[in-house]
């Protein structure tokens, strides 16, 4: 029992300086995303870069803040591939959105809009 208690109380790997540097990187990547928001570029290009940056930020948080980098490999292999496979399954239907965009009803006039909110005195 004592060896397991020792495992639970072991020093949280990673110094404060490491955590602060990860935090700085996360802020830098966020500022990069905001900067890119205002650069004109093709939609799929923008989306790829944004998702790539988000994945890097997510990986940094999971590895260092959530301590996953220092856990046993079996935990990582149990959690991550299952998550990736399920997300890929969700994405399987994505190309259908391009087909259905061509099926949109072409309105002759705009559909009704909600009445303006009543101003409270």
């Amino acid at each position: 029992m004592s060896e397991h208690a020792a495992h639970a109380e072991e020093h949280f790997a990673g110094s404060n300086r490491l955590f602060i540097s990860i935090w700085v990187w996360l802020l830098v990547l966020t500022l990069l995303e905001i900067f890119l928001a205002y650069r004109p570029m093709a939609l799929h290009f923008m989306l790829t870069i944004l998702l790539g940056l988000s994945l890097i930020k997510a990986a940094l948080i999971m590895a260092y803040f959530m301590h996953l980098k220092f856990e046993r490999l079996s935990l990582i292999l149990t959690l991550i591939p299952a998550l990736v496979v399920c997300i890929l399954l969700l994405l399987v239907f994505f190309p259908d959105s391009f087909r259905s965009s061509g099926l949109r009803y072409q309105y002759k006039e705009a559909p009704p809009v909600a009445p303006p909110p009543v101003e409270e005195p």
């Binding site: 949280f12 955590f19 935090w23 995303e33 803040f65 856990e71 935990l75 809009v113």
Partner: protein, 225 residues
């Protein structure tokens, strides 16, 4: 007692009880499994939102001020809250419960700041006339493409995704306040587990912020901002 004494010696008996196969204990494993399942919930919502965006005319109404400024400050609040949480868990691992409590309280402050700013953001949009299934009149005029008006589902996806995330932040703040209050009676593992949940909340925002806010920036100034 004897199985636990043998546990370190035979790898094959990892699953016969008294051992820690992932070396994390059942409560932490439970939290990790919950995080994986909740990630799938948010993935499903975000991918559904992406599907709608790809198959419809979609308004991109967010002005730099207040929307992008507010959401950037909110991102800063959540990232800083993750940092303070990590400091708190680190202090707890060294046995310094008083310091850990202070860091956790600071984490809660950042989380509440996030919620307050987010609610103000919602207020701006609702005041503009955005509802879950209706767009404001001036948005419909500004974003009609080739005679096809923008889909009214912008509000539904925006409020659903950001609302669910805000609910997670609020629940996390309550959870953390319970941990901070009872920290003297809790083990270090419990503080670590609450830290995992909080980092998960931050992680989701790392995806929600670019996909919902950055992708809907009002680039051409079509709303006259």
């Amino acid at each position: 007692m004897s199985t636990e004494a043998r546990a370190g010696t035979f790898p094959a008996v990892d699953w016969e009880g008294g051992a820690f196969p992932y070396r994390v204990g059942h409560r932490k494993l439970g939290m990790w499994l919950f995080i994986v399942s909740d990630s799938l919930t948010f993935s499903a919502l975000l991918i559904g939102y992406s599907y709608l965006r790809a198959s419809n005319v979609w308004p991109t109404p967010f002005p730099f001020y207040p929307s992008i400024v507010f959401s950037s400050v909110m991102t800063f609040c959540l990232l800083s809250s993750s940092l303070t949480m990590v400091f708190g868990v680190s202090a707890s691992s060294k046995g310094d419960k008083a310091k850990a409590r202070k860091w956790i309280l600071l984490t809660i402050v950042f989380g509440v700041a996030f919620i307050v700013l987010h609610l103000i953001e919602w207020q701006h949009l609702i005041h503009d006339g955005l509802q879950p299934f209706y767009l404001p009149e001036h948005w419909v005029q500004a974003f009609t493409e080739n005679g096809v008006p923008p889909t009214p589902l912008f509000g539904a996806t925006f409020f659903a995704i950001t609302g669910l995330h805000m609910f997670h932040v609020a629940t996390g703040a309550i959870y953390l306040s319970v941990i901070a209050g009872r920290i003297k009676k809790l083990k270090h593992e419990d503080v670590e587990i609450s830290g995992l949940y909080w980092h998960f909340v931050d992680l989701v925002w790392m995806f929600v912020f670019p996909l919902i806010y950055i992708m809907s920036v009002d680039m051409g100034g079509r709303l006259g901002h």
